[in-house]
């Protein structure tokens, strides 16, 4: 019979809490930068400039059809061969941004394409500048349309970030691994880690629901 021992977990809750905070920081930063990358990618894809579209297409396909684990290994261990060297936490951030950017590009592109042409023409008729049209007539409604897919992709990103400890980056999973290495209360530690990740996911989804009310709470007007 297995002997459960949660004592090491309770004795080191501060360590896990710190790890959870690092995960929140890392994934929030990756979401923010990832959003910018996604918008740029989507603009490039819908721009009609062919070479630009090809590059973004290649980026999106390569990232979406290879595992994150390989991407992060490649970025951390492989890129120094090309003289591109990043610290562990930077490499983790870059890998997460590169990853979520590819999915976000596709999601936002779909959002942009969902905007009826007539709406853009209406914007022109109102003599809005192209930048104004893009921001208010295209991007904002587009983001609103795809908000659920985008935010669930972001939560998925937070969950994926649990992998970054393989390159010694510091996060919740790394804190758990360190604790496991010291105390060997493996099952108990990973049970608590799983619960913590679940709470983080709940937290992010509550946050996203709030943000949605703040930014997109106006009548749909179709």
């Amino acid at each position: 019979m297995y002997r459960f021992n949660f004592q090491p977990v309770f004795d080191n809750l501060d360590m896990l809490a710190h790890g959870a905070w690092l995960t929140v920081q890392l994934s929030s930063l990756a979401m923010a930068i990832g959003l910018v990358v996604s918008v740029l990618g989507a603009v490039a894809k819908t721009s009609g400039i062919k070479p630009l579209r090809w590059i973004v297409d290649a980026y999106v396909e390569v990232i979406r059809n290879t595992p994150f684990l390989i991407q992060i290994f490649f970025i951390f261990f492989g890129l120094p061969a090309l003289g591109i060297s990043m610290s562990h936490n930077t490499a983790a951030l870059v890998a997460l941004v590169v990853n979520v950017g590819a999915y976000g590009t596709e999601i936002i592109r779909a959002g942009i394409e969902s905007i009826p042409q007539g709406q853009i023409e209406a914007g022109r008729a109102l003599a809005l500048s192209p930048v104004q049209i893009f921001r208010h007539v295209v991007l904002k409604p587009a983001l609103r349309n795809i908000y659920p897919s985008l935010t669930s992709q972001f939560i998925y990103l937070m969950l994926t970030s649990s992998v970054v400890s393989v390159i010694s980056a510091t996060d919740l999973a790394a804190a758990g691994a360190d604790l496991n290495a010291r105390t060997f209360a493996s099952f108990e530690i990973y049970l608590v880690l799983t619960v913590l990740y679940f709470l983080l996911a709940l937290g992010f989804s509550t946050l996203f629901a709030t943000l949605r009310r703040v930014f997109f709470d106006y009548p749909a007007g179709r």
């Binding site: 019979m1 002997r3 951390f76 261990f77 120094p80 790394a174 691994a177 360190d178 290495a181 060997f184």
Partner: protein, 262 residues
């Protein structure tokens, strides 16, 4: 909060189920006719996998010699650095011949035999990195395998400003050194001798951390089995069997610091 209360209720329930870690009876091993030996297969030359996927190496040969001594067959079970002790404590292997360094922390969880092997651990780094002692690690990065003896050793001596980077295993830590992601590494002489082959004179030894002796581990309260294992190690040290195996895998007889350690 009900969640906390429920959690504590669950804890109380599990405490009732508590039972000691599984001890291994010598007689049970003899009756079974096989001894299940946990061994690393990613720790050359102590534990490797040969071309056909069979475990081999110094530990494998010691395991076979031990089984012979006990008059049983050795059934080798591959384990990994982080999971080897859980394997033993959950009764899935009878013993670990898994290059397990003898530390006080580990001795609280498992019982060790007298040493059957040993490695020297030190800090290595690029030849252009100026480190002469632990105090020079301040402001530098050092890679170690998480939970390894070198992790403990480095953590102990490294000053406040040292950036200790923990990887899943030695191999990944070495990758980080080779790709320039860290300046130094805590490593055993054995692994370093292998990388210096390809890296030439790019890296050298900065200072010694410790010499580490390794023991065969059994679950607590497996006294009869442990006694028999100690008899085996003593005999094999004296009659040169361990020397022969060590010579075969590491190119030199069993080091003196292992032989004299009781």
């Amino acid at each position: 909060m009900t969640l906390t209360r429920r959690l504590f209720a669950a804890l109380a329930a599990t405490t009732l189920l508590a039972a000691p870690a599984l001890a291994t009876e010598l007689q049970a091993v003899r009756d079974a006719g096989t001894i299940r030996v946990g061994m690393l297969v990613d720790f050359p030359p102590f534990g490797i996998q040969d071309a056909s996927g069979t475990p081999d190496g110094y530990d494998a040969d010691v395991a076979k010699a031990l089984a012979e001594h006990l008059g049983v067959e050795a059934q080798i079970v591959p384990v990994t650095g982080p999971n080897r002790i859980p394997y033993l404590l959950s009764g899935q292997v009878d013993v670990l011949v898994a290059s397990l360094g003898i530390t006080a922390e580990r001795a609280e969880r498992v019982d060790f035999s007298i040493p059957y092997a040993g490695i020297a651990i030190g800090v290595y780094g690029g030849t252009d990195v100026a480190v002469a002692g632990p105090e020079d690690l301040d402001g530098k990065s050092i890679a170690v395998a998480r939970a390894s003896t070198q992790d403990t050793g480095v953590t102990e001596v490294a000053p406040e400003g040292t950036e200790i980077r923990r990887f899943d295993d030695d191999a990944t830590a070495v990758q980080a050194l080779m790709s320039g992601q860290v300046q130094t590494i805590g490593l055993s002489n054995v692994v370093f001798s292998q990388i210096s082959g390809v890296a030439g004179d790019r890296f050298d030894k900065k200072f010694d951390l410790s010499s580490q002796v390794q023991g065969i581990a059994v679950a607590p309260d497996s006294d009869a089995l442990l006694e028999e294992i100690n008899a085996f190690v003593t005999a094999a040290r004296e009659d040169g069997r361990l020397d022969t195996i060590h010579e075969k895998w590491l190119g030199e007889p069993l080091p003196d610091f292992v032989k004299t350690d009781q």
